[in-house]
């Protein structure tokens, strides 16, 4: 049976575990732990998860002494020299392919694009919101909608 503190705020256990609570809140939560076996178990489980994730991250090392710098710096140099090479013979960069292959590839690509929904209508604004209906028993309200990202603010007035 969950007591009030964790019932009202499920993420308290995470905040406590991650050391994000204030000293007072931390103290309060510690006392809660003494009477809540579920939260105490959660903390133990979180500890196990952290341990496993830490082990995994050690396996995911790029490799001792390996640096991405050589590849990055050569890419940067390439870009720099390509920019200054613009005028030099472009033709050598054109790849020759048989004509029918080009058609087949573009047809396949079109099919894939179609089924992946890329031909759908344009991207929606990042905060697009459509108010399908709205009412307020005792208050007036104003609606603001931003033209660029669609942000909608419904301002209920006193």
């Amino acid at each position: 049976m969950k007591s009030k503190i964790c019932h009202n705020n499920e993420v308290l256990v995470d905040a406590y575990y991650d050391g994000e609570l204030s000293p007072e809140e931390s103290q309060e939560y510690k006392s809660h732990l003494e009477e809540c076996p579920e939260c105490a178990q959660s903390l133990r489980d979180y500890g196990s998860i952290s341990g496993s994730l830490a082990d995994l991250s050690r396996e995911l090392q790029l490799g001792e002494g390996i640096s991405l710098w050589p590849e990055i710096s050569s890419r940067l140099e390439q870009e720099h020299s390509v920019r200054s090479m613009k005028s030099v013979g472009r033709r050598m960069f054109l790849l020759r392919r048989p004509a029918w292959m080009g058609l087949a590839i573009s047809a396949a690509a079109a099919l894939i694009l179609f089924f992946s929904g890329a031909f759908q209508s344009e991207k929606l604004p990042s905060n697009f919101c459509r108010i399908d209906n709205i009412s307020s028993p005792e208050h007036n309200y104003m609606i603001y909608q931003d033209k660029s990202d669609g942000l909608t603010i419904i301002w209920i007035m006193e």
């Binding site: 993420v11 790029l62 490799g63 890419r75």
Partner: protein
């Protein structure tokens, strides 16, 4: 903190044309950016390539870095956005090619494991596969939050700046990620 001052100095130096100082920044952050990127796309080859792209993009945009925020927050935000973009381009909602083998191609890393018995190695590999599968079942946002927290030790505030969300959202993403991972990993431990 001396780290922050160093970053800012290195950035200023790069902008003055000293490309070698960018090397310092690359080598300082490459491993950590790689982990964050891996956390999003769960494929090591692609993560390695993308990590390069992150630094290339950072270099090209260095002039835009205002220096008011911390450099690493800015860099991580680039990594987060780039990896997310790449993943979504690859396959909308379709299973991404996860690493099915955690055996390192660098055999030195493999043998450096504390456990040396073959059967224990196999068990360990199975556990890693379970963890990766568990990570794969999370949303991109949940996975990024847990990776930033567990693999890179960022505070909620830092994570909220990197992921451009509220700290409340960070907490909920972490909470859900942990609850889901619990189901996958705990029975296995």
């Amino acid at each position: 903190m001396s780290t922050l001052k160093e970053d800012r100095d290195l950035v200023r130096s790069c902008l003055e044309g000293n490309i070698d100082d960018f090397r310092g920044l690359v080598e300082k952050y490459q491993q950590r950016i790689y982990l964050v990127v891996y956390g999003i796309i769960l494929n090591r080859e692609q993560a390695r390539d993308l990590t390069q792209e992150v630094f290339l993009k950072a270099y090209r945009s260095l002039g835009k870095f205002k220096g008011n925020a911390q450099f690493y927050t800015w860099l991580y935000r680039i990594a987060f956005n780039l990896a997310l973009d790449a993943k979504r381009k690859i396959a909308n909602r379709v299973q991404v090619e996860y690493d099915d083998s955690i055996e390192s191609d660098n055999s030195e890393n493999y043998f450096r494991s504390r456990i040396s018995r073959p059967d224990q190695m196999a068990l360990r590999k199975e556990l890693y596969d379970k963890i990766i599968k568990g990570l794969g079942a999370l949303s991109d946002e949940q996975r990024t939050a847990i990776v930033l927290r567990e693999w890179d030790g960022h505070s909620y505030d830092e994570i909220s700046k990197i992921m451009n969300c509220s700290t409340g959202t960070v907490m909920s993403r972490l909470h859900y990620a942990r609850e889901k991972l619990k189901k996958e990993i705990i029975p296995y431990l």
